[in-house]
Symmetry: C2
Subunit: 429 residues, 2 copies
């Protein structure tokens, strides 16, 4: 059924896809936004769901709800399995097809285990709401199992938490796990000692937060150690199993491992039948289109884009947003017969929290660290949240944790509604 208006199909409701849809609000086009999930996820705060500070519904909102005031967009929950660029159709599961005039691919990244996919079972990553609640369950169950365990070796392994990768996610998780563990144990477990909790952060590079200025890396390293995090640099992981991690010549006995070491682009290059770059990314033209496919835009983590100085545009939310907005403008400019300017990335800065009351921010021209950075980090994140309700509730949640130390979302829940054995997880892993 041909559309009378120019039809834009957007695949992916993350930062890239959502900002593209919103930037087309006043455009004379019909938009279909397709996502496998019904919700947009505010990934920068996902680690707080994994560590029981926030609830899933505080960081994820139905895409339909976010776009409810935009008449020219139809939201479709569905799984895209390919693109027919000849027929200009997106292929969905169950044989459905959705025709397009312009296509925006914004499907994001997924965890990459560098060819060791068998590690995933023992070391989940943190990309989805389910990942976050699964990690929360693992963390809390380890404490419960430690409370019941009488063997000191086994108890030690249960109270040890390994994080692989010391980028912002790894650093934020390490700090938050120390705080969750200590605040949970204190006064609530009779046989556990808060000081027995051990968080080990393993990084292959020679410093934490390698994207940041060296001074901030060093500051973060020291702040983590002051909190009690054991930082292991320059160590490559050689295996992960149910009992622990082998790295360098060492072995860490732990029942809980989290993967924060690497991501790869979703397999969009396969859909288009083109060759992907390293990490699955697609090297796009200066207008973010796929070479040879001038009506197919790629934005966000899948797009390989360079900055003016030659460095790659990082895989962060602001970059995906800027690219989504750019693609929307390029589509409109083309429809209006205007010339399309090349995409230029504006880097606002890098930021990471280290724990309650400490953070680092690298603006390039200036650097901030400590509690001032932490407050700025908090205010910035609340500002960037999409909805008023969420702003109010997250502010209150944080304030509550700040004042009382109580984490509200310390629930161990299971996937299957009929599951009768919440404890098996620990034994199986």
């Amino acid at each position: 059924m041909p559309s009378p208006r120019h039809k834009v199909v957007i695949v992916g409701g993350g930062f890239g896809g959502l900002s593209a849809a919103k930037a087309l609000k006043k455009a004379d086009v019909d938009i279909v936004l397709i996502d496998r999930r019904n919700h947009h996820l505010f990934q920068p705060l996902l680690y707080q769901v994994a560590t029981a500070a926030l609830s899933p519904s505080e960081v994820a909102w139905p895409i339909r709800h976010l776009l409810r005031r935009q008449g020219n967009v139809r939201v479709l929950m569905g799984t895209v399995i390919g693109v027919d660029t000849e027929a200009r159709e997106v292929l969905l599961e169950h044989g459905e097809r959705e025709g397009y005039d312009s296509l925006v691919l914004a499907t994001g990244a997924q965890d990459s285990y560098f060819g060791n996919d068998e590690w995933k079972r023992f070391a989940p990553g943190l990309k989805t709401v389910e990942d976050a609640t699964a990690i929360r369950r693992k963390l809390l169950l380890a404490l419960e199992a430690a409370e019941r365990e009488s063997d000191p070796e086994r108890r030690r392994a249960l109270l040890t938490f390994g994080i692989i990768g010391a980028g912002p996610t790894g650093v934020e998780l390490a700090g938050a796990i120390v705080e969750l563990g200590r605040s949970s144990i204190k006064g609530q477990f009779h046989t556990l000692d808060p000081e027995a909790l051990r968080v080990v952060l393993i990084e292959g590079g020679d410093r934490v937060l390698s994207n940041f200025d060296k001074e901030l890396s060093d500051y973060t390293h020291k702040a983590l150690e002051d909190m009690g995090v054991q930082v292991e640099l320059g160590e490559m992981v050689s295996s992960i199993d149910a009992e622990g991690i082998s790295y360098g010549k060492r072995r860490l006995e732990t029942r809980t491992v989290i993967w924060a070491a690497g991501v790869a682009a979703t397999p969009v290059a396969e859909w288009l039948g083109i060759k992907a770059d390293r990490g699955g990314q697609i090297k796009v033209a200066p207008d973010l289109t796929v070479p040879g496919l001038p009506n197919v835009y790629v934005v966000g983590d899948v797009a390989k884009v360079s900055r003016a100085d030659g460095r790659p545009v990082p895989g962060v939310a602001p970059a995906a947003k800027q690219e989504g907005q750019y693609a929307a403008k390029a589509i409109q400019d083309r429809l209006a017969g205007h010339e399309v300017e090349p995409f230029v990335y504006k880097h606002a800065g890098d930021l990471a929290t280290i724990g309650k009351s400490s953070a680092v921010i690298d603006f390039g021209f200036t650097k901030i660290k400590g509690w001032a950075a932490w407050w700025l980090w908090g205010i910035a994140h609340i500002y960037f949240l999409v909805e008023t309700r969420t702003r109010i509730f997250i502010t209150l949640s944080w304030l509550w944790i700040y004042l009382t130390g109580q984490r509200s979302a310390r629930l161990i829940t299971h996937g299957e509604a009929t599951s009768q054995k919440p404890l098996d997880e620990v034994d199986e892993d």
Copy 2:
């Protein structure tokens, strides 16, 4: 290892077990509270999680956290599989044993399908947090599938929701599903009509809320119909399958069925090697102990207790609380050599909401209905919530929904962290 002090083991962290533990706060005893879950669940509001008004962490709190200020209690997350009444030991999974001097069994009820356990797959009940999120997923996925469906018959079945059982849970779910469906569809689904949503409430008895005064039943029946709920009385369900429900001589085509028709006690009688009453309950002595086992108390849904007028004590939260408190007092009275008075149940009243702004309350001596009852219902529930934080957050959540109509927790999430196919659920069911 014998305890120097009298040792009380409580099995179950619901209303009965938790109130027993709290009532023993100042007692000179050692308490061990064992639960399969790490959280206490505020079941009266669970239907609001199933209908996306509240988050799981707003109605469930870690038991450890609730008892953190009580030095004489140790919380153990574990699954009880039996009781050795000779040795006075509770048997846990994996061979662990926990000795007791006094035992309080407060394990609650589970869904009962009256011998048709195969229905459970198609008609989940509402007893756990996982049940609630599973129902939420089913409800929201049905709307998503309807939006994609072009066949009018199939679409009609997807937009039809069947609830079996018109007690308070069934009535509350029916009202909340109408509101969730209409508010979700309105402006957010392009091809669906809010008026096409159909909620059918099927009840075997001759009126809704059969425990309430007839006048309130009639009022509720009319209020439900005014909201658009189709009420079917005096109809016994003969089968439930993936395509719908057969009841009486009729057939309802629906993809979403919820079971609110009956519960049975958890299999505590088996643990004790005694004969259970109808519905798995244990007929206890006037002091809530098991006949022949004067140090084993049974409280809550498992205990079969009569009121002064001969009617049974209902399976509601206030009854479980009173029984738990009574058991705690009886244990202390015995230890002090005092005489133990028999348990007397005080019935505060029955209450149920019908939807936004309407409820019924039956105090016995007086009846309230409409918006006054609704406000009283809300205030009473906020008052009975356990924690200050929850009171604040639930009040704000309700206020937000009341003022804006936006339900915050409309997330479709999956059990398995690695699941890639959130849509399959609909096809399978």
